[in-house]
């Protein structure tokens, strides 16, 4: 090590100016690296970037929710209007509908994805042949972009050419092809099914990791004591998996609340606002109505709801654990 280091510090070949300044820089860095602020020094670049692209935008976004800002009406300027947007939100019927749909979307979405993900993780955790290939195949939908995932299902559910319609009619469940996305009764459940397909692997992956971290000896000891499969699952698996479950559920709920991608691709909130959720409402307000101030207010409400959910959920699950 020491000999190699010297070749860097004191080059044998007489350097030209450019090279020596490079080595001077290295020396200088090496000196800083011995100082007590080295850790902070390493963090500076990331911090500057994150300040510029997260902290500052979020801060000004929150401030913007107290102002008027409409790109289509530059004549209005950006006057401070206090809580006006929030008062308007309370009276906005679309907002209320979107809030209700968001709750349905999150509760049904997160629970269905969790249940399928957990069952899959339990199966993937058993030692069977070719399990590595199965693990890859199961994970694929999660790595697909929402645009492709959406159109794959739009193709399969097409009211005239959809293969799922055809299969359901052949099996005898349906008597004729359905238009799944343009019927207000079926639209939300259908998009939830598409998101189940795309997102259950997320739970499979992380719950599988949690399962693999549970020591084998615990199960062996329980078996010796005569515990059956169900008992072992309840007494060992669930308690030890609980921290992973809490973390994954929180992150998935955040994902479900915050990303309207799939809905933009599939329904755009329709028909008749039957698939309108808060994130999509905020996005449409910003992107198609260009009412930035109002959209910011909707987003702040989303943020507050998410924070409240996270605190309550983590508290309750912590209390339930004892």
């Amino acid at each position: 090590m020491s000999s190699r280091r010297q070749t860097i510090d004191r080059p044998v070949v007489a350097p030209n100016w450019g090279r020596s300044s490079f080595y001077a820089l290295i020396d200088r860095l090496a000196l800083i690296s011995e100082g007590r602020y080295w850790a902070y020094f390493l963090l500076i670049p990331s911090m500057i970037l994150l300040l510029a692209i997260i902290v500052y935008p979020i801060g000004s976004g929150i401030l913007l929710s107290f102002r008027t800002m409409r790109l289509t009406r530059p004549d209005l300027g950006t006057p401070f209007i206090g809580l006006q947007h929030y008062a308007d939100l309370m009276r906005d019927p679309v907002f209320r509908l979107a809030a209700r749909n968001t709750v349905i979307w999150v509760v049904l979405g997160a629970s269905s994805q969790f249940v399928v993900g957990l069952i899959t993780a339990l199966a993937l955790n058993r030692k069977v042949r070719g399990i590595w290939l199965i693990r890859i195949l199961v994970l694929v939908p999660w790595f697909l972009p929402s645009v492709v995932a959406g159109h794959i299902w739009a193709l399969m559910l097409d009211p005239r050419l959809g293969v799922i319609n055809d299969l359901l009619v052949k099996v005898g469940i349906l008597d004729q092809y359905r238009s799944w996305f343009s019927n207000p009764v079926t639209s939300l459940p259908t998009v939830l099914t598409v998101d189940l397909w795309r997102s259950f692997p997320y739970f499979s992956l992380f719950l599988l990791a949690g399962l693999q971290a549970i020591p084998e000896e615990l199960y062996e000891a329980a078996s010796v004591d005569g515990a059956g499969y169900w008992q072992r699952f309840r007494q060992i698996t669930m308690p030890l998996l609980a921290p992973v479950i809490v973390a994954t559920v929180v992150l998935r709920v955040i994902g479900l609340v915050n990303s309207p991608d799939l809905l933009i691709v599939l329904t755009n909130g329709g028909p008749g606002n039957s698939t309108q959720v808060l994130s999509l409402f905020a996005f449409q307000t910003a992107y198609t109505a260009f009412n930035f101030g109002y959209a910011a207010a909707i987003s702040v409400v989303i943020l507050l709801l998410l924070m409240a959910f996270t605190v309550v959920y983590v508290r309750v699950s912590g209390a339930a654990k004892g």
Partner: protein, 283 residues
């Protein structure tokens, strides 16, 4: 004896159940992709039919050729590749330094910093988007590759730091200390000992960031306004909306654009899964 026999029967039952669940779940995950794959090789006459045609009458590459030659698809793919590369460079460069510092040093505010990275996921995209849009517009970065890459870093850099921290945590401190005793500077130890050991983790994280940037839709939809920097998810969506893109070509576009994802994912899935999970378990 009785106990053992019933025990074995339960085991056999569980094995059967395992195979059933795995079979069903693999079909559920893969069949939609298989269907799109088949559709992409069907001529339009086999897609738009009175009775559904499961397999193509004859296989055609026309969908791929038309999409590639007649549309802006190659430009879109090129833009996405440039933006994804820029995002990876930004995130890995800055993320490595930050994750190394967080993993190896104890300093004030360390835990709070990690918490902030997690909490940053809670911020609604639109709340971030509006000021970013105004900011990029003022800086002249709207509708540019760099502007989009910077915007992507807002959600990928925190994730990248979390993942890399997991990989750095796995490298034993002894090796670095031995190098330090031999007279290596801290920066020397970072470049000669730590980074070479963390290379699989760096590659896996880079791939993860690349896939995230390649797939992103919402930020790109808002921050790109022209052909100059538009990425493929946005372009594909607009083509569907504006020109009623035929199913065959849409399927071909889907296959082309997920090919790199599946390829990269297959290459690094082992390290990637380890990286994702180590962060989750230590949570």
């Amino acid at each position: 004896m009785g106990i053992f026999r019933s025990h074995r029967r339960t085991e056999q039952l569980m094995d059967a159940l395992t195979y059933f669940v795995l079979g069903a779940i693999v079909l559920f995950a893969i069949l939609p992709l298989v269907w799109v794959f088949i559709t992409s090789f069907k001529p339009e006459s086999d897609i738009v039919t009175a009775t559904l045609q499961y397999l193509p009458q004859h296989i055609t590459f026309d969908n791929y050729l038309t999409l590639w030659r007649r549309s802006s698809f190659p430009t879109l793919i090129k833009n996405s590749a440039i933006v994804a590369t820029m995002t990876v460079v930004i995130c890995i460069l800055l993320g490595t330094l930050a994750a190394y510092a967080i993993s190896h040093y104890r300093f004030r505010g360390r835990d709070r910093l990690m918490l902030f990275f997690l909490v940053s996921r809670m911020f609604p995209v639109v709340l971030l988007l509006i000021p970013l849009f105004v900011m990029m517009k003022n800086l002249g970065l709207l509708d540019s590759h760099l502007g989009l890459a910077l915007a992507y870093s807002s959600f990928l850099l925190p994730l990248c730091i979390w993942m890399l921290k997991g990989f750095f945590d796995a490298i034993p401190n002894d090796l670095e200390e031995a190098a330090r005793i031999d007279g290596c500077t801290r920066i020397g130890a970072l470049f000669r000992i730590v980074l070479p050991l963390a290379r699989p983790g760096l590659v896996a994280t880079a791939v993860f960031v690349a896939i995230g940037a390649w797939n992103e839709f919402l930020l790109a939809l808002m921050l790109t306004t022209s052909q100059g920097s538009r990425t493929w998810p946005v372009g594909l969506q607009l083509m569907v909306g504006e020109f009623q893109l035929p199913w065959g070509q849409l399927s071909a576009g889907g296959m082309i654009s997920i090919l790199p994802v599946i390829l990269f994912f297959g290459l690094v899935q082992r390290a990637l899964v380890r990286g994702l999970t180590s962060g989750a378990v230590k949570g």
